[in-house]
Amino acid sequence: MNLIVKIAWRNIMRHRGKSLIIGAILFVGAFIMTMGNGVMSGMDAGLNRTVVNSFTGDIVLVSDKQENDNVFVEFMGKAVAPIYNYVDIKKALDSLPYVERALPEGKNMAMVLNEEGGAPGNANLLGVDIGRYRKMFPGSVTVVEGRMLEPGDQGALVPVYAQKEFEAYTNIWFMPESTVLDSARLPKEVKPDYAALIPKTNAVLMGFNEDNSTTDIRLGIKGIIKYRALNSLWGQFVVIDIESYRRCLGYFAASDKVDVPASEQKLFSLADENLDAMFTQDSLMTSARGAHTVRAAAAKPAAIRTAAPPRVDVDAGAYNLVCVLLKKGQSAPDCIGKLNKLSKERKLGFRAVSWKKAMGAVGSMATIIKGALFVFVMFLFFVAIIIIVNTLSMAAIERTTEIGMMRAVGAKKGFISVMFLAETAMLAFVFGGAGIVAGIIGVNVFAVFNITSTNDMIQLLFGGDTFHPLLTAADIMVSIGQLAIVTLIAVIYPTRVARSITPLDAVTRD
């Protein structure tokens, strides 16, 4: 081995020009690879911060009756199917070792009625238990005017983006309760419309559920908020308390809950499962004894309702989805599989989907941008491989006499292969290693600059409003692995060329 290393090193030094060309390619390739890995890693971390840890969680549970997995950014405004059994789902989630936290949410479209007679606006409503929302996604929203919703409050938090959108379409300027219109505090682009603005501290929201039934509610605006990033996307979501949301969508609220004795629960099964059964011989309606039971059962609830009102369990009402945050290090695809299995086994009626699927086009966009970056880096690899292959092949042909003579005095083909591999590996180690180190420095320098953008597409690329490329130990190992793969691929053909040189080639060349 010493002999091979000695020959390889001296050959590198002897052919400095070629070694420098290959070295420079390896350096640039390794540098770009490392930077690319840093950008992709930063994007992943950024998306986790701005999407997973601010809006969706790692996994979203939707009703198994829900047609599309895309529940957040559904441009056709299709209603999201409700989940009525969150109490059971919660019990199951609480027992799972891989779940860090879960947040049930109501999510649907609502019309924002214009009491001045003009065209109505639209809003995506996010109905949440605000205490749990803030615990699940801490720091995801900041109040820019008014105050935050507090647990027990009934009201709305209107994002800055939605506030401007309403103003643009309806001239209505939503403001927090107990504030007055102050032209000095208006955004620059709204100031010219000051005279025409219709200030409102509450909104009339008309929700649409999956049955196309509508209910409207009037809700006070508690604050104007701003999301951590991707404001033109998340900014369409008006946050309201879950009980108001349920009333707006015509769902049963937690306060509507009554406890029905087991003896009366037969009535629900009649209504739910088979109404025709009421008209069969065994049905309660046709049997005199059964008819008595029905009448008795119908009479009882009134007696229950007169009792002291039970404490409201907010989870007893309807939701539309459940955001699930996984514990660190858990594989989302694996957990999705486990959750779906669990749902089937325990008949929980939900389907687990990835946050990317739940985000529809936005999730795909993130994948596409990441994929494009990956393809770009792979393209660079390819170009680097071609140039290295070409240069090494030329070097092998130029060294026909030397290699042929080595073969003539007894060197086997394996010796020639290892010698070529050793030369390329040394170049890769020195120049590629330097490229990786330069890449690490580059990533850290970029991170210091705190490059920011307000453009949503760029924010998707950045994974947030600030470009924070980062390299973990795993990323650096990936870069080293990529460099090793490039080196191995690049050396295959030149090695074949060198191995094919015979002693006779050396003699005839003379």
């Binding site: 000695k6 020959i7 002897r14 073969r407 005095v409 060197a411 015979t502 002693p503």
Partner: protein, 225 residues
Amino acid sequence: MNIIETRGLKKNYALGTTTVHALRGIDLAIEKGDFLSIVGPSGSGKTTLLNIIGCIDFATEGSVRVGDLEITSLSDRQITDIRLHKIGFIFQTFNLIPVLNALENVEFPLLLMKDHSRVDVKKKSEQLLDAVGLADYMKHKPAELSGGQRQRVAIARALVTNPDIILADEPTANLDSVTGASILDSMREMNKREHTTFIFSTHDANVLKYASHVIKIKDGLITKE
């Protein structure tokens, strides 16, 4: 005892659309310890014959036996082993590894054999370089040596594995007459001392006086033994 035997050895080359018959049926038997010279004009087939005997080229037809082995049916790996253990080469143009110094060039085949200690390899290589008069040039790279010195390094390298046969293709062709004579003296001395079989091609009449046997070859056929 014959160390090399050939029977009906033929070698054809395709040259464009024509076929060149380099060897047309060579029957040859060379005894161990011989100091044999193959002579003939350019293009007569001397080098081709040496290359086939030395396992660096293949016959189109016929058989070649080196020691106990019929080499025409061996794999590349087995052929390489024969080159390493049984045959030493001295080429016309010296052919040393340019990045290794004189001592390392001589050590090279021994290191490939992997059955000598590092100390033995060095000692043996130094002794041989000393024997060919290059004790003061061991650390010199080939580019720093004269033609004669390089050829001496090549001789030392050819001898270092104690091969049964040393093949030399016009070993003095690129040397002046004094150096050429000195090289031949060295070869003859090794032949006498080690009983190594030397086969060398030449068309230099002065070289022939060193040979114990001479084979004349013309148009791919032996004309006189």
